[in-house]
Symmetry: D2
Subunit: 136 residues, 4 copies
């Protein structure tokens, strides 16, 4: 398993009139977190796109236990448990930093396509770097 | 079943560099669509909140088949199949208007809480209006 | 002058914990409104981009008088007063529908560039259609 | 003058189909940056709101020179030059980190109101902390 803890903070732009983060925003935090997990392994998505690979989300789920509030610091624990084949699954757990309270869990499933939208195998460099990180 | 077709259009703000709607935005369309479904039944969420009820999302899922593009008109078919008890499930199907292509499906599950976050029964007016719409 | 009244509605996604629309969202409404003004004149931005023209914002301003609230209907009055040369200025006034209260005013200034970011003259079709609308 | 350099990074959620940050997003970065400037001086906005003060934006402007791209790191230089009286002005300069290229400049002007929206003097603690930072 590869695991990465992405730290971020809640700003006004994300808070709704219930005083908690609007539900769709967590999917943005998920995206930031998985980008950093991959960056941390030396996988730069801009390079992957320049090589003609895109990783669209084909499925996304989020379960909400407790809401984060304005100026809360949160940790998005991000995990890839299995090597990608046709699909890649990434899992997330969001914690409030100050008391380690679990707020949200979720996952995204990604496909691999080319610029025209046709399915491709996952890019070699990504598989290799993930492989050594997962098994290493 | 209650069903409502919410019509909207895709603008630049929602499109990413793949040229399609960013995945998290569909959850915003879902919210707009369910608000209109409820408004159409005479259920105004502002009134419900003034009475001390909030309907936070406790779970949200979206499956992506095809991406909507800039200036596409879309239809968000929104369905409530069962009367809410402790939870209310709302289902969505997003179609591209010009060719009726199904783009996305998803659902949200909502709880009922008071201002302090404690669980409540669903508000009577909401149950009654949904009830006559579903069974009627 | 060309003028267009774009009607839209405020949803939860746009409301912050002050209970009013988050300030940056008005720039999204501006974008929706100017897209519709242009669409109404037969100017489709997707076509313009396919011909290699892009209209990036080079300056944007918004003055806030009163906040729109959840489920408010608003009207974004959108105006082009002068024919575009190197730049195109679009002005906006946002009204709350139920009482015609002026909420916000603003403007955006747009350049014309090609895909590589080099300045271009405004596309002929756009100038012609705006010209007959402004002077007509 | 108080100055603070807020570091952040560009993710997919912010990029439009021109391949650059959507124009409205910079106002979100401005908000993140000014929150951190104030936090750095020991001014926590959540506390200020708990004391009944709100700082709505009354005017916002942004000038765009060059677009930030996906995975760019940016620095939002944030400056308060004058002590707030009825209004507080905050200025911003956004730089691309890797080559120090200036991308965007802008400012926001904030009022001080209570929960009912009535104008108030700026909160004492804020004025004192800003005062010693600006003149100190």
């Amino acid at each position: 398993m590869v695991q990465y803890d992405y730290h971020t903070k809640i700003y006004y732009k994300d808070i709704d009139q219930m005083g908690v983060v609007y539900y769709a925003r967590y999917f943005e935090y998920f995206e930031q977190a998985r980008t950093e997990l991959l960056n941390g392994l030396g996988i730069i998505l801009t390079d992957i796109e320049d090589e003609g690979f895109f990783l669209p989300v084909v499925s996304a789920t989020c379960d909400y236990k407790k809401g984060a509030r304005f100026e809360d610091e949160i940790i998005v624990r991000t995990m890839i448990k299995d090597l990608p084949r046709a699909r890649m699954k990434i899992e997330y757990e969001v914690y409030r930093k100050k008391d380690n309270q679990l707020l949200v869990t979720g996952y995204t499933i990604h496909g691999f396509i080319d610029k025209e939208g046709k399915p491709k195998r996952p890019p070699k460099a990504l598989v290799e770097k993930l492989s050594s990180a997962i098994t290493g």
